[in-house]
């Protein structure tokens, strides 16, 4: 009996890496629904360069875990066509940095067909892509491009930061009737050769569950400064909050989880409390996520705002060498500095 309870406990509270959690959701949906399939480069025998499909080939075979030619336009567009025919394809863009070779299908077809058809057509597909730097892969393989996708209407944009969220958001993404861009950060996946920080590996229920889009998660409550962030930088912000606590600065950390829809309510409520806003992301600084969050608070909560700081990649491509990559990707110290500065104001 005790043993069974323990294993049940384990069953619901196993710790999984983000990649295992994501794969578990995909496998579940594929079991439940014959119309779900996965297309991408090296997703079959390799299991996804970043473990996004690891193990799926064995259960589902090459017909449902499909390696495709290096023709992003053709296969992402094929996903659009299959989705419009009622299937639920998942198409993987190996690195988000490659969006430019398939962007017309992503944006002019996938994202717009529902609107351009006046709603008579739906495009229930998921576009997955690996994002992020921190391992010196340089300018064409290290970006997050969060802002680029969030700016263009017609796509829901999901950025999980933990295994628990990755699973629940993936269930939601596959079941959603709209195109969802699901951006997973390489550094969070828990890949053998790219050690993750501690945070993303979390307890994950075995059963399926969904996390609704548009609900930000308050990862840490705090009274002094609101830090809004997502992806890898949730963990860096939490680390910063720990060290700031020693200085009696109490930071509230908000993980947006989805950019479209954007949960501005949670952000505004927090700023109403703290009066100080620091936005942190791993995308380029200008014309992107940090600007939007600041502007959305300034529009409706200007009176609450006493200080604003943005921490992001300066407007330069990601450099290769370590000292320079470290320089441009915000780290815990950069976040702590910004919070201190906001707190001083």
């Amino acid at each position: 009996m005790a043993q069974q309870e323990e294993s049940e406990q384990q069953a619901t509270e196993r710790s999984l890496t983000m990649s295992r959690a994501m794969v578990e959701a995909i496998a579940h949906e594929m079991r439940e629904n014959d119309e779900v399939f996965y297309m991408g480069e090296d997703v079959a025998d390799y299991g996804g360069i970043f473990d996004s499909t690891d193990g799926l080939l064995d259960e589902f075979g090459h017909d449902r875990i499909m390696d495709v030619p290096i023709s992003e336009t053709a296969y992402i567009g094929a996903a659009v066509g299959a989705a419009q025919a009622g299937m639920r394809p998942i198409a993987e863009l190996m690195f988000v940095d490659f969006f430019g070779v398939g962007m017309d299908q992503i944006y002019n077809q996938m994202a717009k067909n529902t609107y351009m058809s006046g709603g008579s057509v739906s495009v229930p597909m998921v576009l997955t892509a690996a994002v992020g730097g921190t391992y010196n892969d340089a300018a064409q393989h290290s970006q997050t491009l969060y802002g680029t996708f969030a700016h263009l209407p017609g796509m829901k944009v999901v950025v999980p930061s933990t295994a628990y969220d990755a699973k629940g958001l993936m269930h939601n993404a596959i079941r959603d009737d709209d195109p969802v861009v699901y951006l997973f950060h390489k550094r969070l996946m828990g890949i053998g050769w790219m050690p993750a920080p501690d945070g993303p590996k979390t307890g994950v229920p075995k059963d399926d569950y969904t996390i609704p889009f548009g609900s930000a998660d308050v990862k840490r409550e705090g009274e002094d400064v609101t830090v809004v962030t997502l992806g890898l930088h949730v963990h860096r912000a939490l680390d910063a909050a720990e060290s700031l606590a020693d200085e009696d600065i109490d930071a509230e950390i908000i993980d947006l989880r989805t950019l479209v829809p954007l949960d501005t309510d949670t952000v505004r409520e927090s700023v109403a409390k703290t009066g100080r806003l620091v936005v942190v992301d791993e995308d380029y600084r200008s014309f992107g996520v940090t600007g939007e969050i600041v502007a959305s608070v300034a529009e409706d909560g200007l009176a609450d705002l006493e200080a604003v700081e943005r921490v992001a990649v300066p407007d330069v491509p990601i450099p290769y060498a370590r000292p320079m990559e470290d320089e441009v990707i915000p780290d815990t110290d950069d976040i702590a500095d910004a919070v201190r500065s906001a707190h001083r104001t």
Binding site: G77, A78, G81, A82, A85, D104, V121, P124, T264
Partner: protein
């Protein structure tokens, strides 16, 4: 061999399509004369008419069922008509009315009729990948539906088309690519943009069968399409088919066509596939009066559609905020017309 009743069907479709374009031209130019102002008149936006392309739509779609998918480019009307798209709602869409296929959101380059699996895109060649996706879905579901992607000869230099040929070939998808060669891509003649005279030659590089119909003739196109669609339906993979058609009007309405030699335009007008098909019908013993009746039915259908469309209400401005998503997120105020929208006209 094609039977007389099919010839007859094609003929009526082609006359419908031709008359449709002529009537749209009139309606479009109404209010745009003497000074052509793209924003004036009852039909807004650009308008690409397909007069001279009719044989392609009719000859190919004759082999298609409602469950077969068609993707069309920026010049879609003749194909839509041949595929059986609801003519009234399509016309209402072109006039930008609320009861249009897309509630007025899409316009003439973005006609979608899920009932007959018809879709468009205004981006050159970008209808090809969704077509192979429809083919992939058919294959996965083990049905015998097929998908046909239409494109212009100017589109055969675009990556989306070329990648699609390869992917269709390697996955043996039930897809037919139909290149409508009207000799021009806006002002650019084919020989300025590719060294290949026969667009079907592209197929060889990917090991799928390619064929070209050199005359603008519905029966020849019908025959070639029969083979290609049959191959797809029987599970024998994709085909690239190029068919010669003619552009009888400008690239879009308002095109001065000053780049186009007069002889070329005159020649396009002479080689009339509709007249040719009428002769075929006569050769099959169809009476002139019967042909005339077909013409009249076609004209009536067009007039009815246009009249109906013009009677339809304009969309409510606030409708602009809907339909971004099939499953609109509850938190997104921007697409909620009742919310305050600073960019709007409320």
């Amino acid at each position: 061999m094609v039977g007389v009743s099919e010839l007859h069907e094609m003929y009526e479709e082609m006359v419908t399509a031709r008359h449709y374009e002529e009537r749209l031209q009139e309606e479009y130019l109404d209010g745009k004369q003497p000074a052509f102002d793209i924003s004036a008149g009852p039909i807004p936006g650009e308008l690409h008419l397909a007069a001279g392309h009719e044989a392609s739509g009719a000859g190919v779609c004759q082999h298609l069922r409602d469950d077969d998918t068609v993707t069309a480019p920026h010049r879609p009307h003749h194909i839509a008509i041949a595929k059986g798209v609801d003519l009234k709602r399509m016309t209402a869409e072109i006039f930008g009315r609320e009861t249009g296929l897309s509630k007025g959101k899409g316009g003439h380059m973005h006609l979608f009729d899920p009932d007959v699996n018809f879709a468009c895109s205004g981006i050159i060649a970008e209808g090809c990948p969704p077509a192979i996706g429809a083919g992939l879905a058919a294959k996965k579901r083990n049905t015998d539906s097929v998908a046909v992607a239409f494109l212009g000869e100017g589109a055969i230099d675009q990556g989306a088309f070329l990648e699609s040929l390869n992917m269709a070939a390697v996955h043996d998808l039930p897809v037919v690519f139909v290149v409508e060669d009207n000799d021009w891509a806006i002002s650019m003649p084919k020989e300025r943009v590719t060294d290949v005279e026969n667009g079907a030659q592209r197929a060889g590089g990917f090991d799928l069968p390619g064929a070209r119909v050199d005359v603008d003739d519905a029966v020849s196109i019908y025959d070639a399409a029969k083979e290609a669609v049959g191959r797809a339906r029987d599970g024998n993979g994709p085909t690239l088919l190029e068919v010669q058609v003619h552009r009888r009007m400008g690239h879009f309405m308002g095109d001065p066509e000053s780049y186009r030699p007069d002889e070329d335009k005159a020649a396009a007008e002479q080689r009339d596939s509709i007249e040719r098909l009428a002769e075929d019908l006569r050769a099959h013993g169809v009476e002139d009066t019967t042909i005339q009746e077909s013409r009249e039915r076609a004209h009536e259908r067009v007039e009815e559609a246009i009249e109906w469309a013009k009677d339809q209400p304009e969309p409510d401005p606030a409708d602009a905020h809907d339909d971004v998503f099939s499953n609109p997120p509850s938190g997104v105020t921007e697409s909620d017309p009742s919310a305050e929208v600073t960019g709007g006209d409320d």
